[in-house]
Amino acid sequence: MGAVVLLLLATFAAALPDHAPRTLGIASHPPDLFAALAVFLALRAPGYAAVPWAIALGASKDALSLDPLGSHAFVLGTIAFLHSRPGRTIPVTGVVRALALLGGVLLAHLLYVVRMVPVAREGPTLASIGAGFPTALWTVLLTWPLFSVLERTRALDGLVGRRRDAAA
C-alpha cells in the first residue's frame, strides 16, 4: 500500500513543475516534492528505514532530469540519513516538521549544487545556490496540506517500519 502511494506521489512530483502556478514566481521555483517526501519519510521513521526509499525517490528524480543517475539519489539518500534518528518513537509533526522540511529541502539543494561540481563543467554560482531558498519556501508551504493528510492517514508509515496503529 505504502509503495503504491509513494509511486503515485512520485508521478505527481514529476508533473508538478509543469503545473506550478505563475503567481508569486512559484512556476520559476516549483516545490521539490521529491526532497520533501524524502525528509518526511525520514521524520516518520523510527530508524534508518527511510534511506532506501529516499534513494529510490532520488533515482526517480534523476530519471526525469538531464542529471546522470545517482546525482539526486545520493543527495536525497544523504538528506534522509541526516534526518533519521535511531530509536525515534514519536514522529516529528506540525511546525517542527515544517521547519525540518525547510532545512532539509534547502540542504538538499546545497548538497546537489556541491555534488554536481565533479560532473558539471561549471562550478557553483551564487545564483544557483540562491535558487534553493524560494524552492524550499514554496515546498514547505504548498506541501503542508499533503503531509497533514499523509500524517492522518499514515499511508506511508508501513514503508518506514512504523506500525499504522502506533501513535501519530
Binding site: 509543469d18 521555483h29 539518500g77 539543494h109 546537489y112 549544487v113
Partner: protein, 255 residues
C-alpha cells in the same frame, strides 16, 4: 557505503546505467505521454447537465478533430518558417513532428523538455529540435517512445554560433547556456565587423546534425570593443518560447 557508491555512480556510469534510467523515466513520464497532465492540457469545458451520450461522443470527436486540425496547421506553419529561415539549403531537411509532453526538468538548475518521439521513430542523440526556424535544443536522452531535449538555455549547453551583423558580416563564438541571458564568449571581431545589440545569432556549421542558420537569439549587449582582431564578450537573449506552442520539429539526419 550505498551513499558513497551513489556519489561515484554518475562518474563511473556502469553498464546498464542508461537502460535503467530510461525505464524509470519512461514509467514516471507515462501519464504525460498519454496526454494526462502534459503542458498542453487545456482546461475542460463544463458540460451542461442535460446532454445525451451521443451528443457527448460527438463533442469529444469534434474536440479531437479541432485539436488535430490546429496541430496540423501549427506543423505546416513551423515547416514554412523553417524553410524561410534556411533559404540557402537546396532542400529542406526531413523533419519529424513532435509534441512537448514535459516542459520542465525535474532538477531546478537544468533546462530540458520531453518530446513524444523516440528511437522507434528514428530519433537519436544529437539531433536538433526546432520550433519554426528557432532552435529549441539538442536531443540528449532517447528512449523508445520519447526523448529528452537539452534546451539551448541549459547550463551544460555549448553551441558554436555566428552573429550576423547588419552589414552581412559573420562573427563566430561559443554560446553557453545557464540563464535567461546567455554569454557568447570570444567572438572574434575581425577588421570591419561591428556587433550591435539586435543582431541575429544563428547556428554555425560545426555540428553535422544541426543545420547552419537556425535562429538561436538576438544580441542583447556587447562588451570589450577593441581594435581590429579583438575578442568581444556578447550577451544573447534566446528566442525560444515554449509557451507559444507545444509542437516542435525534430530535424532528422539525411537518409
Amino acid at each position: 557505503v550505498v551513499l558513497v557508491a551513489l556519489f561515484a555512480l554518475p562518474v563511473l556510469r556502469p553498464r546498464g546505467f542508461p537502460g535503467f534510467e530510461g525505464w524509470l523515466g519512461a514509467t514516471l513520464d507515462w501519464p504525460a505521454r498519454s496526454g494526462v497532465g502534459g503542458p498542453s492540457a487545456a482546461p475542460e469545458e463544463t458540460p451542461p447537465l442535460a446532454r445525451t451520450s451521443r451528443e457527448r461522443e460527438l463533442e469529444a470527436i469534434n474536440a479531437r478533430l479541432r485539436e488535430e486540425n490546429l496541430a496540423s496547421r501549427d506543423e505546416a506553419s513551423q515547416r514554412a518558417r523553417l524553410g524561410a529561415t534556411l533559404p540557402h539549403l537546396a532542400r529542406l531537411p526531413r523533419c519529424l513532428p513532435a509534441r512537448i509532453v514535459r516542459a520542465h526538468d525535474a532538477s531546478i538548475l537544468r533546462r530540458s523538455v520531453v518530446i513524444d518521439v523516440g528511437t522507434a521513430d528514428g530519433v537519436r542523440e544529437g539531433l536538433a529540435v526546432v520550433q519554426g526556424g528557432v532552435l529549441v535544443g539538442i536531443v540528449r536522452q532517447v528512449r523508445a517512445h520519447d526523448a529528452r531535449v537539452m534546451l539551448v538555455t541549459d547550463r551544460a549547453s555549448r553551441l558554436e554560433v555566428a552573429v550576423r551583423t547588419v552589414e552581412g558580416e559573420r562573427a563566430v563564438g561559443y554560446l553557453s547556456g545557464g540563464g535567461d541571458l546567455l554569454p557568447l564568449r570570444h567572438v572574434r571581431a575581425r577588421d570591419g565587423v561591428v556587433v550591435r545589440p539586435g543582431d541575429a545569432v544563428v547556428t554555425s556549421n560545426a555540428d553535422e546534425y544541426v543545420p547552419a542558420g537556425l535562429v538561436v537569439g538576438r544580441v542583447a549587449a556587447v562588451s570589450g570593443t577593441g581594435g581590429p582582431d579583438a575578442f568581444l564578450d556578447v550577451t544573447v537573449g534566446p528566442l525560444l518560447d515554449l509557451e507559444r506552442s507545444t509542437a516542435a520539429l525534430v530535424v532528422m539526419p539525411p537518409e
